[in-house]
């Protein structure tokens, strides 16, 4: 087994230990980090980097980044979060970000999935269809 594979496998084991009831637990992640600090494994930095990547991916799965141009009401954010939670079958935490480049509308990102109703997306689609 290559070194890279061993590191990836170890990071996956760490991720398994960080999950509680199907969701990533901040306390468990903290515990894993402390344990690693106390007993540093071989290729400590590489293991941490691989672990970070997996944790980021896990966080992205339960996070909806809502980019918006202009104002967005708390009710809309709640509605989006509720609908996405129902769709994915897990609790989705909304994070709002203002992005003037969207011109108007919303862009919601959950892991790899993008839901775009912004004007900038409409314009770029129009541009590509005309070229």
């Amino acid at each position: 087994m290559t070194q890279n594979k061993q590191i990836k496998q170890f990071a996956k084991q760490l991720l398994k230990m960080s999950v509680e009831g199907g969701d990533l637990s901040a306390d468990r992640v903290d515990g894993v980090l402390k344990a690693l600090d106390k007993n540093p494994p071989r290729h400590h930095i590489a293991v941490l980097k691989a672990y970070l990547k997996l944790v980021e991916r896990e966080v992205a799965k339960s996070t909806a980044i809502i980019s918006h141009a202009g104002v967005i009401g708390a009710r809309s954010v709640e509605l989006i979060s509720k609908q996405l939670s129902a769709k994915y079958g897990r609790s989705i935490v909304p994070i709002t970000r203002e992005d003037p480049s969207l011109i108007a509308g919303l862009r919601v990102v959950v892991d790899c999935d993008v839901y775009d109703s912004s004007i900038s997306n409409v314009l770029s689609t129009l541009e590509s269809s005309l070229s």
């Binding site: 790899c112 999935d113 993008v114 109703s117 997306n121 409409v122």
Partner: protein, 510 residues
């Protein structure tokens, strides 16, 4: 001007105003036309991926953490962190009659500067080959116009016949001759108004070739009036390996359209050695495990799934055919190398071209002993069978005897006669490039050979004699040639006519 505004307004109206869902990923690294992508959780194998700037790619490696994709076309503008999207569709290319006479790239886009291609239909580049139920046996001939092939290694419509040999032995010439001959037959057939006539359309796929070679081929086809029945798919050496990999499948998709619509098509893959090398390059960059000669493990499947798409299908499934002439370049005549053995086992026969024969001036340099057609004899015209049935055996015996005859001068009369006859057959089969001979003329000359008409002519004058007889028949006995073509077999009446014609010709040849 107002129409342009209306067009844009229409386009805006058509655009969806609701949220557009897409599955995305980010480029982790990119180089040598291959991108490693993070994300794309819903991507399918062989799915088209949209890169920024209108560039497309194909997902080839679906790994646990990332997706390996090949970029089709220019990838210099792509960088790490760029967003890519799944398209949910397989790569498709335009197909149809609108492509005839055109030169397209591996994605079916025109590269000949003749404007846009008129095509309303597209076919997926990768497709499952017709199954057993859909197929029909190969029983219609496909004339190459090359005497040595049509008489000894006949090809049928729907067959896969490999053309194999070292570099510079005339592999491409045989393929081009066949394309030219199809155009010649099409012209005669269409002009005759025969409702049962089935034209053969040709597709020439140039893989990893020099642009100058493709231009030369294009020039020859244009000069011989064959371009109107031909489509050229070009993925030259300067193209990315991914384009060279996809080009034969594009050609097959174009050919399948003819097959599915009750027409016959011929496809030439020139050549599959370079195709395998392009695939090896891609696979190594994708970090796929390598095997023999550094080719990936699925290099056999690469060619088998391509060549299996050539078939003759039954009436219920399109009633057409796709005949394939793949070309393989060998090194120092080594037929036992990896790719040659693979393709030999996939195809229904091979035409082996020998360097020694080529250098001796025997062109086409077809090696009779190593060439074979496994299904073509069922499709061979009866007339050709009648006049050329024993020729392959006689020629093979001649080659063997000629090798022995080198060691001694005292030969019995029978051996001398066999050697003499063999030498005449060899001379008879000599044929210049890009000059296919119509089947009825071939039958006429072979009939003369079978009936010992050339026996009193000096071997050195055999080529001239055969040419003279052909000219005589085409200029003076057109009705006889038409009868041979239409009847497709030699009966007593035709025998008498041929005898009379040959007797009339003989004194004219001094």
């Amino acid at each position: 001007m107002s129409s342009v505004i209306e067009q844009i307004e229409q386009q805006i109206a058509n655009l969806q105003t609701k949220a557009v869902a897409s599955n995305t990923g980010k480029i982790l690294k990119i180089g040598d036309g291959v991108a490693k992508i993070d994300g794309l959780s819903e991507v399918m194998y062989n799915e088209m991926i949209a890169f920024p700037g209108g560039t497309i790619g194909i997902a080839l490696n679906l790994e646990e953490d990332e997706v390996g994709a090949v970029v089709l076309g220019e990838s210099n503008h792509l960088k790490q962190g760029d967003e890519v999207k799944c398209t949910g569709t397989l790569l498709s290319v335009p197909v149809g009659n609108g492509l005839l006479g055109r030169v397209v790239d591996a994605l079916g886009q025109p590269v000949d500067g003749k404007g846009a291609i008129e095509s309303t239909e597209t076919y997926p580049v990768e497709r499952i080959a017709p199954g057993i139920i859909e197929r029909k046996s190969v029983d219609q001939p496909l004339m190459t116009g090359i005497q040595a092939i049509d008489s000894m290694i006949p090809i049928g419509r729907g067959q896969r016949e490999l053309i194999i040999g070292d570099r510079g032995t005339g592999k491409t010439t045989i393929a081009i001759d066949t394309i030219i001959n199809q155009a010649n037959i099409n012209k005669v057939g269409i002009a005759s108004g025969d409702p049962d006539f089935r034209p053969v359309y040709s597709i020439y796929v140039a893989i990893g070739q020099k642009n100058s070679n493709v231009a030369r081929t294009l020039g020859v086809l244009e000069e011989k009036g064959a371009l109107e029945y031909t489509i050229i798919v070009s993925a030259p050496a300067a193209d990315a390996a991914a384009n060279q990999y996809i080009a034969p499948y594009t050609g097959a998709a174009i050919g399948e359209w003819f097959m599915a619509n009750g027409m016959d098509a011929l496809i030439v893959y020139d050549d599959l050695s370079k195709h395998a090398a392009a695939y090896r390059q891609m696979s190594l960059i994708l970090k796929r495990p390598s095997g023999r000669e550094a080719y990936p493990g699925d290099v056999f499947y690469l060619h088998s799934r391509l060549l299996e798409r050539s078939a003759r299908v039954s009436k219920d499934h399109g009633n057409g055919s796709l005949t394939a002439l793949p070309i393989i370049e060998t090194l120092a005549g080594d037929l036992a190398a990896y790719i040659p053995t693979n393709v030999i086992s996939i195809t229904d026969g091979q035409i082996f071209l020998e360097t020694d024969l080529f250098n001796q001036g025997i062109r086409p340099a077809v090696s009779v002993g190593l060439s074979v057609s496994r299904v073509g004899s069922a499709a061979q015209q009866k007339a050709t069978k009648q006049v050329a049935g024993k020729i392959k055996l006689e020629l093979a015996q001649f080659r063997e005897l000629a090798a022995f005859a080198q060691f001694g001068s005292d030969l019995d009369a029978k051996t001398k006669a066999q050697l003499d006859r063999g030498a005449r057959i060899v001379e008879l089969f000599k044929q210049p490039a890009f000059n296919p001979i119509p089947i009825e003329q071939q039958v006429g000359v072979l009939w003369a050979m079978q009936n010992n008409v050339f026996d009193d002519i000096d071997v050195s004058k055999m080529v001239a004699a055969a040419n003279s007889l052909r000219d005589f028949l085409s200029s003076r006995k057109e009705a006889l040639l038409t009868s041979i073509r239409e009847k497709a077999k030699i009966d007593d009446d035709l025998t008498a006519q041929l005898k009379a014609a040959v007797e009339e010709w003989k004194p004219t040849f001094a």
